[in-house]
């Protein structure tokens, strides 16, 4: 590294200015950076696309993203050479790839350091300084002291810019599609009904590769500039450079001035010279004179006077920019009494207990967190469905209700003998109550014995419809008849005839209120009989 060769203006900057310098470096040397980088990124992207075709392009995108530390190294390699005025050809960059892969800590960067937010900033320590182990971590901690926050934010901002570019490119592409196609696509996207289409995957992938190729050099450039700036702060590169420039000027001055002085001296010996003539000779190169006076004054002051001048200079406004900063300080910390070993202090006495309590509470809290996590996992079905309305509708579990339509539908709410109870009500001219009891009994049978899933919102028609496939034809016929009679008394206030009611009572016993197993047996027997007949 030869600071004399440095091509950027090195001065002490604040971190944002340093980031600006990084961006300018990329803008200035864009051709040298983008050509090899594009070859590398698009090459890798193409290979990945061929390996992970249809339906798995997201894996290709993920791997491409994961390989970002590799691109970092290539970009830094180019930038570091350009900074010290060393021109690299694309071929030279590609040729350096193996050494960049093996000698720059790429394995660590691709594994446990992959998610480091200051990845770009740390890279020069690995790649340029080639430090490893404790020396690297010491070096890194020194460099991090001021610049780490900026380096981390830089990473976050740049990732976001990449995403913005991908979305913008997609939006731009959509502008060129027919309106209906684009609308359908967006509506489908929001209603989660986008069908898989290869072109969407390919476009997403291409846009992402393009965004990374475009933005990544700026990220590494800015990180590198932050690193250079931090080293300038620590190692006073700017002062060193200024001194070197000064030395160079002196050297030039000495080279021009000594022959001139020799010449003047010889001439003064040969002829009588006037002071005016001497002035003319010394002013042969007025520029060099100005350069000299710029650094060293002609006037040499004695030590006492210089002290006075220094004092006056130190009192100037530029060097006395004092600011008053106020902030809140806790009273107890500000006026903390010094520990008196002889004096009994409650705080000191309880400190060990407080520590034990603190430990117990912390432990209990962690157990609580573990329990909450376990419960969340265990009861995941009951809260996960909140995030998916359709799934909720599908998986709504059914439990036999106890109250429906304002009626008690528990089996034990019915009398032991429904028919005789209903018949009694009917004989007492309580027609509605009689039919109501019968209908309620039918519903309770449907729910608890036939396992028909009924809901509060079901009308009589819905009950019939839903029970049709669950119960035998004979039972359904009875239910239909009962429902019609019930509807007539409930909504038309007309009761059925005694004969119709008698028929209902009889059919209840013969067709409806029989055990399912029995009815199944009967239906099986009838099937067998039927087959025999055939």
């Amino acid at each position: 590294m030869n600071l004399n060769e440095i091509t950027a203006n090195i001065r002490l900057r604040n971190p944002w200015e340093a980031i600006d310098l990084g961006f300018s470096m990329v803008q200035k040397w864009w051709l040298s950076i983008y050509l090899p980088l594009a070859l590398l990124t698009f090459g890798i992207a193409s290979v990945l696309y061929l390996i992970f075709p249809k339906g798995n392009v997201w894996i290709a995108s993920l791997i491409f993203w994961w390989l970002k530390p590799l691109y970092d190294r290539v970009i830094l390699h180019i930038l570091s050479h350009k900074l010290f005025n060393d021109e690299l050809s694309t071929w030279q960059v590609l040729k350096a790839l193996p050494s960049l892969i093996w000698n720059t800590g790429l394995f660590q960067s691709l594994t446990f350091r992959r998610f480091s937010l200051s990845r770009g900033f740390n890279l020069p320590i690995w790649q340029l300084e080639q430090l490893r182990g404790s020396r690297r971590s010491e070096r890194q901690s020194v460099l991090h002291q001021i610049a780490h926050t900026y380096a981390a934010w830089l990473t976050i901002v740049m990732v976001n810019i990449e995403i913005v570019i991908v979305i913008s490119l997609f939006g731009l592409f959509m502008l060129f599609l027919p309106e209906k196609t684009a609308n359908d696509f967006f509506v489908g996207m929001f209603s989660n009904k986008v069908e898989y289409e290869r072109w969407i995957d390919l476009l997403n992938y291409l846009f992402y590769v393009f965004a990374v190729t475009l933005i990544h050099p700026f990220y590494i450039g800015a990180s590198f500039a932050l690193y250079i700036n931090r080293r300038t702060q620590l190692e006073a590169w700017d002062i060193e450079l200024d001194f070197k420039k000064l030395a160079l000027r002196f050297e030039t001055l000495a080279r021009n001035l000594i022959p001139a002085l020799l010449c003047v001296f010889t001439l003064s010996l040969l002829s009588t010279s006037s002071p005016v003539a001497a002035d003319e000779v010394t002013n042969v190169d007025p520029n060099s004179e100005i350069e000299v006076t710029e650094f060293l004054s002609d006037e040499r002051l004695p030590a006492e006077s210089s002290k006075q001048v220094i004092k006056e200079t130190m009192l100037t406004k530029e060097l006395n920019d004092k600011q008053t900063v106020t902030y809140w300080v806790r009273k107890d910390t500000a006026k903390k009494p010094k520990n008196d070993p002889d004096k009994f202090s409650f705080a000191d006495f309880f400190e060990p207990f407080a520590k034990i309590m603190g430990f117990i509470i912390e432990f209990a809290l962690w157990i609580l967190v573990a329990i909450v996590l376990f419960l969340l996992f265990y009861f995941r079905d009951s809260w996960l469905h909140l995030f998916n309305i359709e799934r909720k509708a599908k998986k709504e579990s059914y439990q036999a209700p106890e109250v429906m339509f304002g009626m008690d539908v528990r089996p034990d709410s019915l009398p032991d003998d429904i028919i005789s109870e209903s018949r009694k009500l009917w004989d007492n001219k309580q027609h509605r109550e009689s039919l109501s009891l019968l209908y309620r009994g039918a519903l309770i049978r449907l729910i608890n014995i036939e396992h028909v899933q009924l809901k509060d919102s079901f009308t009589e028609g819905d009950v019939l419809k839903h029970s049709q496939k669950k119960i035998s034809e004979a039972k359904h016929l009875f239910l239909d008849n009962l429902t019609n009679n019930w509807k007539m008394i409930a909504y038309a206030h007309r009761h059925p005839t005694n004969e119709a009611m008698e028929q209902l009572f009889n059919t209840w016993v013969s067709d409806f209120a029989i055990e399912k197993v029995l009815s199944d047996l009967e239906s099986n027997t009838s099937k067998k009989d039927g087959s025999k007949d055939e």
């Binding site: 509506v187 929001f190 209603s191 009904k193 429906m404 339509f405 304002g406 009626m407 509605r432 109501s436 809901k455 509060d456 919102s457 079901f458 009308t459 009589e460 028609g461 819905d462 509807k487 007539m488 409930a490 909504y491 038309a492 206030h493």
Partner: protein, 325 residues
């Protein structure tokens, strides 16, 4: 032709079946649309039919008019249509030196307001009075329209270009909003065969439809339907459904009291079609979608998610407790 002004419920139901059969001779398929249109006619309401052009909306109205020898007028709504073109206006008669009223096309039994959402709101609103009060006011004088009267408005789906959405007040005056969809494969084949058989051009053929009723019998059916018994619990059920729409998540505007009235009126007509002299909660549930779907507005987030008012209404019907004593 049946002349029955004092008919029984069974006769009315039978007549309604005949009307359906006659309409079915011209309109092939679309049974649900015919059924719901008849419900609206019997309930004395107006119908908004939504569907893309060319599905037989005009044919349906003409066939319906032909079944009871009713008058039929059609107004093609266009952006430059004026309210006076719909209702009528006064003209100065030079011979009699006085103003005479020229009645507009609304003076008819069946009014087909074709593509009603092609005209601006001002013209659409010209129908408000006649739809609600069965009369038209011209120059301060009220002129009743012949009875039975029904407006059948058709509209293209609102997403189409050059359409003006109907104002809420107007929408509320339609008893039912009916969706008309493409016919099924076999129905379409039958229709193509019927329309192209021995016929030049593609004009609507209603020659097969014979009149089975008169305007008076239709009025008698309407009176009979209005007399159908409604239990208090059923009215409460209808009101519960309508009230639920007002604070239901996913709806920004719920239905007003006209929604409950429409539910009961349409359920009465439905019960009459089934020859029943009382209505049940099933009638309310069956008619709830066409009677309420146009009275609701979806919340923006539900629209974005692609939900329709029918889906939300179905959700409400699935949650509202049905009456049972």
């Amino acid at each position: 032709m049946t002349e029955m002004t004092n008919m029984t419920l069974e006769q009315a139901s039978e007549l309604a079946q005949q009307l359906k059969t006659e309409i079915g001779k011209a309109v092939i398929g679309q049974k649900q649309v015919i059924h719901e249109t008849l419900i609206a006619l019997i309930a004395g309401g107006n119908v908004l039919i939504e569907g893309v052009p060319g599905l037989g909306k005009t044919l349906l109205v003409r066939a319906l008019a032909a079944t009871f020898s009713g008058q039929f007028n059609r107004i093609q709504f266009t952006p430059d249509l004026m309210p006076a073109d719909v209702t009528g206006h006064t003209l100065y008669d030079l011979d009699n030196k006085s103003f005479s009223v020229r009645k507009g096309p609304v003076f008819t039994n069946l009014l087909l307001a074709d593509e009603i959402n092609r005209a601006p709101a001002k013209t659409q609103s010209a129908l408000l009075e006649v739809m609600q009060e069965r009369q038209v006011t011209i120059e301060g004088e009220a002129h009743p329209v012949p009875l039975p009267f029904m407006t059948l408005a058709t509209q293209n789906p609102l997403e189409q270009e050059g359409t003006y959405p109907l104002p809420e007040a107007q929408l509320d005056r339609f008893l039912l909003k009916i969706y008309i969809n493409y016919p099924r494969d076999n129905e379409e084949s039958l229709m193509v065969a019927a329309v192209t058989n021995k016929q030049t051009g593609n004009q609507l053929n209603i020659s097969n439809v014979s009149a089975v009723a008169t305007p008076e019998t239709i009025q008698a059916m309407q009176a009979l339907a209005a007399d159908i018994e409604v239990d208090k619990s059923v009215i409460e059920y209808a009101v519960r459904i309508v009230q639920a729409t007002r604070d239901w998540q996913g709806l920004s505007i719920g239905s007003g009291p006209r929604g409950s009235i429409a539910l009961i009126s349409a359920a009465r007509a439905q019960a009459m079609l089934h020859a029943r002299d009382y209505i049940t909660p099933d009638d309310i549930k069956e008619i709830a979608l066409p009677a309420l779907r146009h009275r609701l507005a979806l919340a923006p987030e539900m629209e974005l998610e692609g939900y329709s008012t029918d889906q939300i209404l179905q959700g409400i019907l699935d949650k509202i407790e049905a009456p049972r004593q």
